[in-house]
Each structure stands twice: as structure tokens, then as C-alpha cells.
Amino acid sequence: MIDADELTKTYGRRRAVDQLTFRILPGRVTGFLGPNGAGKSTTIRLILGLDSPTHGRVRIDGRPYRGLHRPLRHVGALLDANAVHGGRRARDHLRWLAQTNDIPRSRVAEVLRMTGLAEAGHRCVRGFSLGMKQRLGIAAALLGDPEILIFDEPLNGLDPDGVHWVRGLIRSMAAEGRTVLISSHLMSELQLTVDHVLILARGRLLSDSGMAELVRSSGGDVLVRTAGDTPLAALLTVRGATVAPESGQGLAVTGLGPGEIATVAATHGIALVELTPRAPSLEKVFRRITDPELQYRAEPRREDAR
């Protein structure tokens, strides 16, 4: 479990992270969502004890990170896939990391195999594609078989196969009861992967909720299609739904669930061709929550207007 309490980090006059209080629980995937500059990476550096908070604190299973004995056995982190010495062989990179935490040497070959890099272990990292570097970073995070995994933008640069593999890996890690935190600025990446979302903008926590709840509260709708003209729209409106026409005799219904719609249709002998609950994209949800907070919006600056 990761436990942050009023975590604050100030650089000069800028508050990169502003009084964050949250808990990241085991057994599920938590997404860390926000535009560039929202404070995601700073928060991760604070969790790992790389930066010291200006105020507040963050604990790993009740202890400060810097107090952990052999921390790689508790927390595995992928920060920046490019942060590897290019002149070093992949195997040597993992080897020195393993040595710092007294992790047996055999584990290096194991994580290379797990991440599909078994054949590339003897090659210098300089020759790796970004996708391979991501795999190497994930291999490094898995070295100590940790209970807590933190991945900062893990899907960057991965091909579709790689994305599929990382998603599967993340899900299986959470299913094993581990704590998994993954950050992203791409909502579509997280929508399929996470159970819980923390939304960050300008260093502040805007939302801390389950993925399903977030989607529900942001208003999904139901797409209904019938064979030919029917009075269904009117029947639904009477029951309090809002109905908007869609192409191909479709109706976008909000305010009633698919079960209720089906019941109404059945009662009146209307045959349904399609009945699809639609979740709003996380992009939409995110834009709704963060819009007033966006700090790097593309708008003409005052100096330009002069």
C-alpha cells in the first residue's frame, strides 16, 4: 500500500505537487491520470524517495521509502525507459541493479525471459528501440519480485503486441494481490486497464474514484435500435428518459438503464435490433473535470496580442 498525506513539493514558487492525500491499495490497478506537467512524475519521485517533499509525507506499507531494507524487493519502478547507460549491455544493467539488493543472479535471466528480451540480453542498450527499452525498464522493475509496482507511462513506444503484453502483465500482477500504479496522459490507455483512477492537474488531486463509478457519474447512454418506426422514443420520454435520434433509426437514451428500456419495449411488443450501453470515453470525462484547470492551453498570450 502507498499512503500519501498532504504531500507537497515546491520548486521555487511553483507547486508541482499540492497537498496530495491518497491511498493506493493492493489487489487492483490504480491509474494516475493527468496532462503533462500535472505532477505525476514528481509524485512518483516523492514516493521513491528520490525527491524530498516540501511538506507532508508518503509511506510504503507504513514506512518511508528511504527506510526500506532492500527496496527493490518491496517496490519495483519503471521511471524513464531511456534512463539507461547506452554503452552497457542489458544484462549488465540488470545485473548491477540486482547486486544492490542481493537479488540472485539467476533472476536477471528470468526477468529477461519474462519480458521477451532473452535474446537481446548481451546487446548494448544503445541499439534498443524505445519499445525494447520499455521492456528492459519493466524487467528492472520486476527484478525483486516486488509487492508494489509503479510504472510511469509504460505503454510509450510499444507496438500493439507490446501494449497487449503490458496490459496483461499489469492485470495479472494486480490479480496476484500486488499494488499496481500506472501513470498516463492517455485516457484510452488506462480505460481498459485500471480499476481505480486518481486524476491530477496542476499538482492537485481532482478525483479519486473507481473507474466504473467515474464513468457512471459522468453519464453514459444506451444506444437502442428498432426494426422500423415505433413509438418507443415517446414511451421512453414519458418515463423520464432523454432521447436523441441517431443514424439508422437509432436512439441515444440517457436516464434509463438497458434493463428498463428492454422492459418498456417488451411490454409494448416492440422488437429491439440493438441495445448497447455506452460508456463515455475517459477523454470526455477527463476534459470535463480538468478543463478549468488546464494550465498549458493553446490560447493567444497577451504579449502576442500587442
Binding site: 521513491l48 528511504r66 527496496p71 534512463a83 547507460h85 542481493d102
Partner: protein, 260 residues
């Protein structure tokens, strides 16, 4: 947990030996010191008959053939600088401190590994250059033996000086974090500080000059001729240890307080 960070030392050794710059730097130092020792000795025996009394009196069979160690100092200093600054320039330092949050121990392990490598390599170079140089000088019976006064001290001193320079480079790298800046400062301390200290010293006073690192290097390696600009070997050792203590303490202090 043991008091001695075995894992960290092993990790630092792996880091050091798994990048190409390490053997490259050591190769440059090897070629420079041994080749220059031979060339210098050969040019000395060729010119000896034409030398006046003063030139002959100022000839030091060890010091003169150790000119190549100027190159070796630069190489070893760079070895120390790069061992730290490449971690910052590549971003590896974050992985290092995430894996080992007790930064003082990481620095200690790194300096221990660097210092050992530099001392062993430095001593090997000093002895190799000594024997190569003396072998050539023997053609004119100008050579000295390890048992002659000051000779063993000069050879050991040269190796020790290379170790000092390496640790100094690593400490400065830790303080400045950038390769260019740390290289410039290390080089400046090694080669320019004597000029600066001479310029600010009152006429005839050697007190300040003796604190220049280059003067200490010379104070450690002379055998038959002693320039008054150089401190005694004992004082030179104190100067080296002072540079080491101050730079390493400052590096440790800064490292444990700054964000990565």
C-alpha cells in the same frame, strides 16, 4: 544486515567494468606513461653529453621519465568524473538511488571501487614506467634502483597520486553532476592551480604554492633533485589527504541533501 555494503560494492564494480570508457581510459594512460618514459629516457641519454653541469644536476632519473603521468592524471581524473556524471547524464542515478536510498553508502561503495581500481592500476603503471625508463637509462649508467634513496617512495607516490586524482574527480563529479563542468574543474585543480597560487603568492613565499595539487604530485615523485616550489613528500601526502577529505565530505554532504 552487515555493516559492509557488499552488494553495493559488487554493483559499483559491475557498473565500472561494463562500460567501454573504463578500459579505454586505462589503455590511454598505459600507453602514455610507458611510451613517454622510454622516449624521455632515450632523448636524455642521447643529449646527455652535450648537457652543462646545471642541467645534469637537475636531472632526476625517476621524475624526468614520469612526464607521461601528466597524461595519466588527466585520464584517471576523467575516469573518476565519468563514473559519477554519466549516471546523471543518462538518468541511471534515479535507478541507483531507488535501489539504494542510503546515498552515503552508495558514494562510499563507488569511491571504494574506483579508489581500488585506480590505486592498483596506478601502482602497476608507476612500476612499469619506472622499470621501462630505468632500463633505457642504464645504457648510459644514469639509472637508479628501487633501493636507492627516495626511489621507492617516488614510485609508490606516483601510483598514490593517480588514486587521489581519481577520487577527486569522482567527488567533483558528485558536486557538479555535469561532465563538462566537472572535467574542467578537475583539470583546473590539477594543472592550473599552481599558476594561480604562484600569481597570488608574495615574492619568494612558497607556503601557498605547496598547497597546489600539482606541487604535491611533484613533492611525492622527486628523487635526486628537489625544486623549492615542491613540498616535502610528507607535506605532499598531507596536501593530497586534505584535498580528498574536503572534496569527499562536500560531495557526501551535497549528495544526501539534494533531490535527484
Amino acid at each position: 544486515m552487515t555493516l559492509f555494503p557488499t552488494g553495493l560494492v559488487a554493483a559499483e564494480w559491475t557498473k565500472l567494468r561494463s562500460v567501454r570508457s573504463t578500459p579505454l581510459i586505462l589503455a590511454v594512460a598505459t600507453v602514455a606513461t610507458i611510451a613517454i618514459a622510454v622516449l624521455q629516457a632515450r632523448s636524455t641519454i642521447g643529449a646527455w653529453d652535450g648537457w652543462g653541469a646545471r642541467a645534469r644536476a637537475e636531472f632526476d632519473p625517476v621524475f624526468t621519465t614520469f612526464t607521461g603521468f601528466q597524461v595519466a592524471q588527466l585520464a584517471f581524473g576523467l575516469l573518476g568524473v565519468l563514473a559519477v556524471t554519466t549516471e546523471y547524464s543518462t538518468g541511471t542515478i534515479r535507478a541507483t538511488f531507488a535501489a539504494a536510498p542510503r546515498r552515503g553508502r552508495v558514494l562510499a561503495a563507488k569511491l571504494l571501487v574506483l579508489g581500488t581500481v585506480a590505486l592498483v592500476a596506478g601502482q602497476a603503471l608507476a612500476f612499469a614506467a619506472f622499470f621501462a625508463g630505468q632500463f633505457v637509462l642504464a645504457g648510459k649508467h644514469l639509472d637508479v634502483a628501487l633501493g636507492d634513496p627516495n626511489v621507492l617512495r617516488a614510485v609508490l607516490g606516483q601510483g598514490f597520486y593517480l588514486g587521489t586524482v581519481t577520487i577527486l574527480g569522482a567527488a567533483i563529479g558528485t558536486l557538479l553532476r555535469h561532465t563538462a563542468g566537472a572535467t574542467a574543474l578537475t583539470t583546473g585543480l590539477l594543472f592550473l592551480s599552481i599558476m594561480v597560487l604562484k600569481a597570488v603568492s608574495p615574492d619568494g613565499s612558497k607556503a601557498l604554492i605547496h598547497w597546489a595539487l600539482a606541487a604535491a604530485g611533484e613533492g611525492l615523485t622527486w628523487t635526486t633533485f628537489h625544486d623549492p616550489d615542491w613540498p616535502t613528500a610528507g607535506f605532499a601526502l598531507v596536501v593530497c589527504l586534505t584535498y580528498l577529505t574536503v572534496s569527499v565530505t562536500a560531495a557526501a554532504w551535497r549528495l544526501t541533501r539534494r533531490d535527484v
